[in-house]
Symmetry: C2
DNA sequence: TTTTTTTGTAACGTTTACGCACCAGCGGGG
DNA sequence: CCCCGCTGGTGCGTAAACGTTACAAAAAAA
């Protein structure tokens, strides 16, 4: 019988392309990868990989194996989730993925309080924005602003995130209305037409929400921003009095496999309650 | 990232129950299994197995892992089949599962001829009767007498196997009709009522078809037997002149994953043709 | 062009995982 | 009853797998 880890080697080498990158992914050195690959190929009746353009490419046969290995990986990830949820006490590792902005403006104290209330839980906060974290086991709970979260995840929507248009007080003082420019996440910001400055151009494109808010707070231009970020700022003021726009929902999510875990439940409740308490601020 | 071979250890230990049996299954010693298990349990937040009644029993959590490992095994077996079918030349290992009786009476020469015609193919003939061989990769091609072969297998039915009722000439000479007894595969042989001796009892039960035929040929009683086995025998004669009964089909089968392999195709064709050539003898 | 980085390969020394032999404890069968 | 077979556990020597280091070739950068 063959070693099931062979499948992982095939999958990882296919994804990484080189021995060194594969070694990094598998936490071994590239020489080890080379040896394992040589042993694997010796067991196979047909080459699995060929070197082409300074990279390992899977042969047609290798691609079949990769496809099967991908299915295997899904099961391995499922096993990892089962493993995570199996620790039915309030102890052990637990990870929360939350956007930087939410962490900074809404949950800083509450996360600290949770960690203090559960000293046996090793809480890790990761600041990534990718929603795929959950499937790959990189996080147990994620908090995201999203219109329609993937349906295979479970959780609850706390409220809508309200956004308004802001500018720094000094920016408004030192510029004329015709000279003002927008800071936006993309070039084609269609929502600008519904603002007090519908014809002003986008002067600065910043994809990262955190950096964009910093630019706004530094008086670099007009910008749409989440109320919970901008309202506490003493020098930022809304451009008009229209009520905040509920742009997307704020979700606390986990994977179905993890839902039964007491740790996960406790964290979801704590975070959900903390956000619900600040509902008026989030909605604007 | 965890070693995917852990899943195999969990699955095998669950099936075997003891360290030694697991070691035999994995082709390692029981000490190695103990070490791997200790390392695995150390990585798990919750026990996977508990010792109970001198055997390793999976915990509830362990059973979840076993279920996932079973799904993994299916994929691993699929990969094995892909591997087998990938060798697209007429070379390498090839295994044929065929009942002893068919091997001896019908295919002995033809299998030898096939092996001689394809010197680069390492042909292995296994004499098991289990049909599950194909799924577990224990054989590439199976030849079986079966009424309805599993539908997930592919292949063709050569013809029906004809059976008649026979006895050794000397047995008939030295016994009176009332003293004759049947040799059967089971106690409740309902087909006896349609024979020239419908009221004679079953005197000997032999499950194994090969041994049963030997008993018949040794003059131990009356018995139903396949025509292709009994007709060539000089001293066996039918009990009546009724035509042979087509009892079940004779199938040459393989797994869909292997069908594309030239080796498998060649072997299936050779065996199918060889059996078709002897169709009149098989049907009786 | 030269230089730098990144690639895979080869040799060497160490660690780790392995098989082997042996042990005691428990059960079933004679 | 005793004995035999099977269980898992322990110590030891070996062999396989590993990381480190060094090296040559090819692509990328200067």
């Amino acid at each position: 019988m063959r070693d099931w880890d062979d499948h992982r080697l095939i999958l990882t080498l296919h994804r990484c392309g080189t021995l060194r990158a594969t070694g990094d992914a598998l936490d071994v050195t590239h020489t080890t990868v080379a040896r394992r690959l040589a042993a694997l190929e010796a067991r196979e009746p047909t080459p699995v990989f060929i070197r082409q353009d300074r990279a390992y490419r899977a042969t047609d046969y290798g691609l079949e194996r990769v496809a099967l290995a991908e299915r295997m990986e899904e099961i391995d990830l499922a096993a990892m989730r089962v493993q995570r949820s199996s620790n039915n006490g309030l102890a052990g590792p637990l990870s929360l993925s939350v956007p930087q902005a939410v962490f900074q403006f809404l949950l800083l104290k509450d996360i600290g309080a949770f960690a203090g209330a559960h000293p046996d839980i090793d809480l890790t906060v990761v600041g990534t924005d990718r929603l795929a974290d959950l499937d790959r086991g990189e996080a147990d709970v994620v908090i995201r602003g999203h219109a329609n979260p993937p349906e295979h995840l479970v959780g609850r929507e706390i409220c809508k995130v309200g956004v308004r248009n802001y500018a720094h007080r000094e920016y408004l003082d030192r510029t004329t209305p015709d000279a003002r420019k927008w800071i936006s996440a993309s070039d084609n910001a269609v929502w600008i037409k519904d603002t007090p400055y519908p014809h002003q151009p986008v002067g600065l494109v910043i994809h990262d929400i955190q950096s964009r808010f910093l630019a706004l707070a530094a008086g670099q231009g007009l910008s749409r921003a989440a109320c919970f970020m901008a309202d506490p700022h003493p020098d930022l003021e809304p451009l008009d009095d229209t009520p905040p726009t509920p742009l997307y929902g704020l979700w606390v999510l986990t994977h179905p496999d993890l839902r039964a875990s007491p740790k996960v439940k406790a964290l979801m409740k704590a975070m959900g309650d903390a956000l619900a308490r600040q509902r008026s601020m989030i909605e604007g």
